[in-house]
Amino acid sequence: MAKKENKTVILINPKLYSLEAVYGAAYVFLDKAYIYLEQDSRSKIKVNLKWKTKMTKKRLEVMRGEFLNELLNFSLREKISKSNRKIREYIVARALASASQEGPPEQKKKSFLEKGPSDIAVPWRNKNQEQCRTEESDKKPVWTIDTKGIAVPWEEKYLNKKPCRKEKIR
């Protein structure tokens, strides 16, 4: 790595870092430097960074480090994206399938008369009613601490109060 008046030259071994990682790191620095890529005689990638603002030697050193860190960051990202590729594609495929009108393939396969747990065919209405019941019971609210005194039973709230209008008439 060599430095000349507001310039930094970084040699990168293409066996260690991929070209995509170099592009990614360079892209991050486009607003700070003018970047030109060359190939070395030993087939190494030569990154010429011409900084847009004047920098001290210390600052140049720091920026060189920043570039190398970014290079490492992008190589790791690339590695992770490669290793997660299958699961990513699977998730997207599932999402697209469920979003489509036909629904996911699993739902399609279900027969018209679905069998109950005891292998007896259950009529569609009964089954749906059961489902509704279970859904309702699941949706029952869970009471938490009532700070505003809203969740007071009717008896407790109106037991000591005046009788209602109808009772007065009697």
Binding site: E20, Y23, A26, Y27, L30, Y34, I35, Y36, L37, Q39
Partner: protein, 75 residues
Amino acid sequence: MSQRENQVSFIFNGRLYDLRAIKNAIQAYRGLADFSLKTSKKNIELRASNIDKNLANIFKDEFCNYVLSEMNKIK
């Protein structure tokens, strides 16, 4: 890269730069200069002439950056 009076020539390495990225950059910069492109096995040679006088000193650097940003779009 070499620069003469109002004329700049670039040599882009064929392995590092994509021809499509360079063409896209030319398309974007065509209002600022006249371009001539030459491709060989290893390199892509580009010559820009009649560069806008106000931009002559930063033209080549900005053009290189633009090509690099296009590379990121393509890859």
